[in-house]
């Protein structure tokens, strides 16, 4: 092939470039612009500078709860989801009959729509006829019955449990393929040197899977910052805004109350927080291979 590019070479990029730029990049920049305005979509836009942001951080309690919930979600994902995923991956990395089946079994919920999962878990949590309370009554533990998602104190944890049930298969698969790259001879050598199970895992396996961990942690943080479907499907942010996340609160501000400027400002805050993960992660992705 000639080494100099002709214009026709760039034509291959044109469809992707036009579609992607018009619906993702331009709207993203446009949102930043709108976030500096007071606007309900009908009256003329009124430039207010950083007032939307100042309002959000200084006096909007629901926004602060949403922000806190997103960070809590990140912490829960990085501890609970990752621990379960790693545990399952270690189980299914052993050689036994039917392991391919079990691997698929735990991965399957990840292929379901999150709304469907939310609806399924609503049935679990229903205070009067739901599975959890019925089960507790059946085994005479009535004192433990709860309102679950309708109790603001534990609602976020309940929603998170549904999300973990659904999504744990994805990091599990990544860990499994990471475990496959760990050379068994190194583990054997560690064993000869007297390393026990835990020691082997934390001093040999984990460091050797560094790259897998980077991918899992980065993608889990990004997904946690975007949490939307599961909350909308189960609680729509309630009760008393206890499960509100940045994504759901942005949706309420912009599409329920027509605060387009303030809604865009919340989206911009999401974007800025996520950039701390996205930029290094994108550079990491582009550099591999």
């Amino acid at each position: 092939m000639k080494n100099k590019a002709s214009i026709s070479d760039y034509l291959y990029l044109v469809p992707a470039f036009i579609i992607y730029t018009s619906i993702v990049i331009i709207p993203a920049l446009w949102s930043i612009y709108i976030s500096l305005h007071k606007w309900n979509g009908i009256c003329p836009m009124e430039f207010v500078g950083l007032k939307n942001f100042i309002y959000l951080f200084s006096s909007d309690q629901i926004f602060l709860v949403s922000l806190k919930n997103n960070f809590l979600w990140i912490v829960l994902t990085l501890t609970i989801t990752i621990a379960i995923a790693m545990g399952l991956a270690l189980l299914f990395n052993r050689n036994f009959k039917g392991r391919a089946f079990f691997r698929s079994y735990f991965y399957f919920p990840y292929t379901l729509s999150i709304i469907l999962v939310a609806v399924v878990w609503r049935r679990m949590y229903d205070p009067t006829t739901g599975f959890l309370n019925e089960l507790l009554r059946l085994i005479n533990l009535d004192s433990l019955t709860s309102l679950w998602t309708a109790n603001p104190k534990i609602s976020l944890i309940c929603v998170f449990a549904a999300s973990a049930w659904q999504s744990v298969g994805q990091p599990m698969i990544l860990f499994l393929s990471g475990l496959q790259t760990v050379d068994p001879e190194i583990l054997e050598a560690a064993e000869i040197d007297g390393a026990g199970g835990f020691r082997k895992f934390f001093s040999v396996t984990v460091p050797l899977m560094k790259e897998t961990f980077v991918i899992v942690v980065a993608t889990q943080i990004i997904t946690s910052m975007k949490v939307f479907d599961i909350v909308m499907g189960m609680t729509a942010g309630g009760p008393a805004n206890s499960t509100q996340t940045l994504a759901t609160y942005m949706h309420s501000q912009a599409f329920l109350w027509d605060h387009w400027g303030r809604g865009s400002a919340i989206a911009v805050v999401m974007l800025f927080i996520m950039m701390f993960i996205i930029i290094p992660y994108v550079v990491f992705t582009a550099k591999r291979e």
Partner: protein, 274 residues
């Protein structure tokens, strides 16, 4: 002896986990077979009702409009997935095979979109769709889906195209292939496994998408399965039987795709990040 006990324990752990993960689905199956009287009367949690309430399934289809949602989902998926993959393949081909400038920069530009929160584009999309009258249209949904899918598609295909030896390009050129022929006659056919993987992942992603469709679609007749399922959930009361039946019916196509193509899916998922 010790090993045997350890082995037994291992299977017990797996069995418990399998049972735990099955509980929500098991609960939905039972609910779909019961009438409201059955579960309000406090009938045993694990018992089947005396008379199976098939009406739930009929309601889900007739009252719940389920087939309409599924049809819309299929239409959008079969429009979006092949065209999206073609658009992504063209771009990935240019990035990996043509002597264009700023390859890495262009690649980064595209994959950033895969990670951005959809919320950052929602208000302007709403404005644009109002202007061009694209709300409640297949095209409107299709266009947004292709746009938000480009990053992931280019990431997967670029990775695969890079593994195709470059000697093939030279051989093809000597045989008189131009660039378009190289793309259609050589690269695409070799990339079939990657295209198949992407097809499955993309199909499920489109079928399951909620955020964009909740903003683009208002008309109940145009809803896809996730937005449609939200209709089943009332503000205060929910007809759980009908809802559960609807859930089971819409799981079927996903389960079929999963059972038929799970090898592509599981390998593709781990391959996409390699």
């Amino acid at each position: 002896m010790k090993k045997k006990i350890k082995n037994k324990l291992f299977y017990v752990v797996i069995f418990l986990l399998v049972a735990l993960w099955f509980t929500p689905i098991f609960n939905i199956i039972l609910t779909s077979l019961k009438s409201p009287q059955d579960y309000y009367s406090g009938q045993g949690l694990f018992e089947l009702p005396e008379k199976i309430h098939w009406k739930n399934f009929i309601d889900a289809i007739l009252v719940g409009n389920l087939f309409q949602y599924m049809k819309n989902g299929l239409m959008i998926s079969f429009l979006k997935v092949p065209i999206g993959i073609l658009v992504e393949a063209l771009a990935a081909f240019a990035i990996t095979r043509l002597p264009i400038k700023f390859k890495t920069g262009i690649f980064i530009y595209f994959i950033v979109g895969m990670m951005l929160p959809g919320q950052i584009a929602l208000v302007p999309i709403n404005i644009m769709y109002n202007t061009f009258d694209l709300h409640d249209t297949y095209f409107g949904l299709f266009y947004a889906y292709v746009a938000f899918g480009t990053g992931f598609g280019i990431l997967v295909l670029r990775g695969f195209f890079n593994t195709i030896p470059r000697e093939l390009d030279d051989a093809a050129r000597i045989d008189g292939c131009n660039r378009w022929m190289l793309f259609t006659k050589i690269i695409l056919p070799i990339a079939k496994p990657a295209l198949a993987t992407l097809f499955i992942i993309d199909f499920l992603g489109t079928w399951n998408e909620y955020l964009l469709s909740s903003v683009i679609i208002y008309d109940s007749k145009m809803k896809t399965v996730p937005t449609g399922l939200m209709n089943y959930v009332g503000e205060h009361t929910t007809d759980y039987g009908m809802m559960a039946a609807g859930v089971l019916i819409t799981i079927i196509p996903v389960l079929l795709v999963f059972l038929l193509f799970q090898r592509y899916l599981v390998e593709g998922m781990s391959g996409a990040v390699k």
